[in-house]
């Protein structure tokens, strides 16, 4: 995800064979999720805040209230680290030591820019909305002028990123394979349950949208 290969900060140090710097892998992980953890520094203190995101081309969009500490900090152009983690399963080995997790994660570094124009802001909000609930945007009332003013949107270029992926069964020490211990994978997945209508839903609304009934995004 960098024409010259991994940079000092994206280089996967621990278990480098799990590192992957291809745009295809990084985009596929970012596109499967919608929730990231954003790291930034205020007066030397790290903060980690969960928030939704949307990807469009080589840009990751985030948004929030104009009153948000995170957005006020990031728009100043400070260094940010955005991490997306998809947990696919627990790896149960015979030894405590070789227990692990199967996961796909992306770590992305850079500085964010404030999106200023109403048109680009609206488009970014559409991208975020469609990332979190694909199909939703066409149904809802779009942001009014004063709502756009109350919302900050940040754009982070996806130019310095790495993915880390673990798959497959446990890897035990050879002498442990004979132990009488169940070993394998406990797959974890996220399910959308039956949608719960708002108690104040309009009587004109007769059907749950199809995109909610077949929802398959991964918050993690």
């Amino acid at each position: 995800m960098n024409p010259n290969g991994p940079t000092k900060r994206t280089q996967v140090i621990r278990l480098p064979k799990r590192g992957d710097y291809s745009q295809e892998t990084i985009y596929s992980i970012l596109d499967a999720g919608f929730l990231c953890h954003v790291g930034f520094v205020v007066d030397g203190q790290p903060f980690v805040i969960p928030t939704g995101y949307g990807r469009s081309g080589n840009t990751l969009y985030m948004h929030g209230s104009s009153a948000s500490r995170m957005l006020r900090t990031l728009e100043a152009g400070v260094e940010v680290c955005v991490t997306v983690t998809l947990l696919d399963g627990l790896v149960l080995a015979r030894s405590a030591f070789h227990h692990s997790m199967n996961y796909r994660s992306v770590v992305l570094f850079g500085t964010a820019m404030l999106v200023e124009s109403a048109e680009e802001k609206t488009e970014a909000l559409r991208v975020i909305s469609e990332q979190i609930v694909p199909g939703r945007w066409k149904d809802v009332r779009w942001p009014a002028e004063q709502e756009l003013k109350a919302t900050k949107v940040l754009a982070l270029p996806i130019s310095e990123a790495s993915a880390k992926v673990r798959t497959g069964p446990p890897a035990d020490d050879e002498e442990d394979y004979a132990l009488n211990v169940w070993a394998g994978i406990l797959p974890l997945s996220v399910h959308a349950e039956q949608p719960v209508p708002d108690p104040r839903i309009s009587s004109d609304v007769t059907a749950v949208p199809d995109y909610l009934l077949k929802y398959d995004k991964r918050p993690i």
Copy 2:
């Protein structure tokens, strides 16, 4: 989670009514999960790394390889931010602006201490193991001396923390309630699927452990 109330860095600024500083709420969120995102700073650059954890009393334990950049950084006593996020559902409003998520999150600040003694290290690893897969520890081969040496364990006191919680239906602008738009909650939950045995599982192992069949922890 602080005898004098929230501190400057744990004070929930955005939507303060969602803030909760009670030990009961903070522990219940930490105990429901097992995956955190750890933020730390190296040369001014924030890093956010996902990792498992375990809580025992007022201590959060994390572990990893002695070669890990994160653990080498944290053991030096730098400021750390640990965030745990449990996403309960998507909040679908009539307006794009009032879309939200239902979640429970904890943000924890402090400095971690390296756990030195073999006994406390083993106990911390038991705590982490039981947090991730309750019931597992009794079944597995416990860490040998050289495995303990290859593992770093950090202890973070849970003394400066805040929780943030959103529940309930969307809150739309009054004039939007009449819109012909489906609104409500899409609940999200994590499921453990059928365990997948290691291809090399010993023929002496005849049953999948009960704690895997009824697994109900939340990675998010």
